[in-house]
Every structure is written in structure tokens, then in C-alpha cells.
Amino acid sequence: MISSVITFPGSNCDRDMDVALKKFGFKNKMVWHDDVELPKSDLVVLPGGFSYGDYLRCGSMASKSKIMKSVLNFAQGGGKVMGICNGFQILVESGLLPGVLLRNKYLEFICKNVFVKVNNKDNSYFKDKKKEIYEFHIAHNEGNYFCSNEQIKEINDNNQIALFYSDENGNINEKSNPNGSLQNIAGIFNKQKNIIGMMPHPERMIDPALSGEDGSIFFENLINNLR
């Protein structure tokens, strides 16, 4: 399995993602934002960070960069694209995913472990796994998912919600919502479920000595599903 991680000016989780993908068997290539052509890939990852210093709106500048034309073509042709944190913001700004990520409700930068509950297993990212609740890390200032009434209806009708913020028992409520996201949304898919955007960082949970192993479970499952 070949993956590509795009590095934008200001990306800072690109190398963590590279380490995580390689650890679980991907042959990963780093791709610069100013490149035009995307290497042949089974998975394209838009990593976390602060592309273009979060100028204007998070992800807005990166979504117009040269490589994104190829990413758009790849995604629209059914290619698997995963956006983590700033990558999620880039995906909504590029129009590949619906909605927008607003400033956190209580205006704080949040950096902590949270629990997320899987909502939809009918996709490459969470298929074939009994596990429903993952402990992942979040670190963001703009993770407050929002969209119009028509969009949220469509998202629910098409079962596009990937992950909810929950507590460790899977309860989804205001208390388990760290940033004010609409319906506790932590991650969503496009209609076809080949594109996922999520605020949590699975790549930060791949070492039992440093963090936890839920990221390892996620990546192992992902590469098995793509094979």
C-alpha cells in the first residue's frame, strides 16, 4: 500500500503521520504543496498543523495550493483521502467535505485526550472492527464543526458522520463535547465515504510507552481494509 502525505508551509504533524503510516506497513511518500503531480497512491493524507499560519481562515490558503488540484481529481475519482485536524479544515475549505470548522466555543486552544465513538463502519476507515470507542488526542483552536440546516440533514440522511465526541462509555452529550461541535461531530465523510476529515490525531496514539494504542488499532485496520 502506497500513501502520500502532503506538506504545506506550516504543517507540523506531517512527519508524525509518516512515522505512523510506515510503522503499520504503508510505503509513504512526502509530497510538497507546490508540486503539481500526486504520486500514484492508495491513500492521500492531509496532515495537521497550521498551514499558512491559519491566515484568513484555517485551511483556506492551503485548499488553493497547486497540489490540491491533483488531490481534488484523485478524491473525485474515488481515491481515499484522509484529513486530520488542519487537514480536515483544508478538506472543508476545498469543498470536498461539507460544513466548516469554527473557533472553539469557549475560545480556548484544547490539547487533551478525548474519546470518540464510531458512527459508521461501512467504509475503509472503520470497517471490520468490533471496537467502537477510541481514545485519541485533540489539539486545536478551530474544531467547532458547523454547517447549515440543509447540510446537516443531508449528512444525517447519507450517514456521513464518522465520529462523535463521547465519554469513555460512548455517551454522546454536551459534557463530552469539547469544542461546541454541532451534534458532537468529531469527523465526517463525503457521500461516497472515500474521504474522511477528523479533528482527532490517531497518529499520536501509536506508541504504548508514550500514549496509547488506539491509533495503532486504527492504522492496522486501515491498511488491512485497503489491501
Partner: protein, 93 residues
């Protein structure tokens, strides 16, 4: 002579000012905090504060209509996110 050329150039340019505001149904926590702070400073007659963005775009275009149309396109493609924001050209001269 050179100076005159520069002046002529400047006169041909259009400067377009555009304001971007959050749509009414979008939560504006920053505006809320500003409201609370103003309240604490003694400005007690405020109903609501909404924070927005202001851009001044100096274009090489001399035709007002064309310049405004161009800026509208910029707003729709980059400057504003139409899911949460509205834009309004407030001045072009």
C-alpha cells in the same frame, strides 16, 4: 514627466473596500466576549457585538463595475466562506 505618469496610473486604479460578516445564525464567541468586556467597562446599552473582517483591495482595473465584479469573485472563491459568512462591497473609488 515621470511623476505625472505615476499620478495618472494612480488615478486609473480602483480601490474596493469589502466587509465580511458572520451570518446571523452563526455563533460568534469573540463578539460575545467583546460585548461582555464593553459591558464591564460601563458601555451598558449594547444589544449585541458581531466581529467581522475588512479588506481594502487596490486593483489595476479602472472600470468600477469590472473591479467590483472581480472582487465579488474573490469573495466567493477565497475571502469569504459562504457557509458562515456574507460579504458586502461598501465602497469603490
Amino acid at each position: 514627466m515621470l511623476q505625472n505618469c505615476d499620478q495618472l496610473k494612480k488615478e486609473n486604479n480602483m480601490k474596493v473596500s469589502v466587509v465580511i460578516t458572520l451570518k446571523k445564525n452563526v455563533l460568534d464567541p469573540q463578539g460575545k466576549v467583546i460585548h461582555q468586556t464593553l459591558d464591564g467597562m460601563g458601555f451598558e446599552n449594547i444589544n449585541e457585538v458581531r466581529q467581522g473582517k475588512y479588506f481594502e483591495i487596490d486593483t489595476k482595473e479602472s472600470d468600477q463595475k469590472k473591479a467590483e465584479k472581480n472582487v465579488e469573485e474573490m469573495c466567493e472563491k477565497l475571502l469569504a466562506n459562504l457557509v458562515i459568512e456574507d460579504y458586502k462591497i461598501i465602497r469603490s473609488q
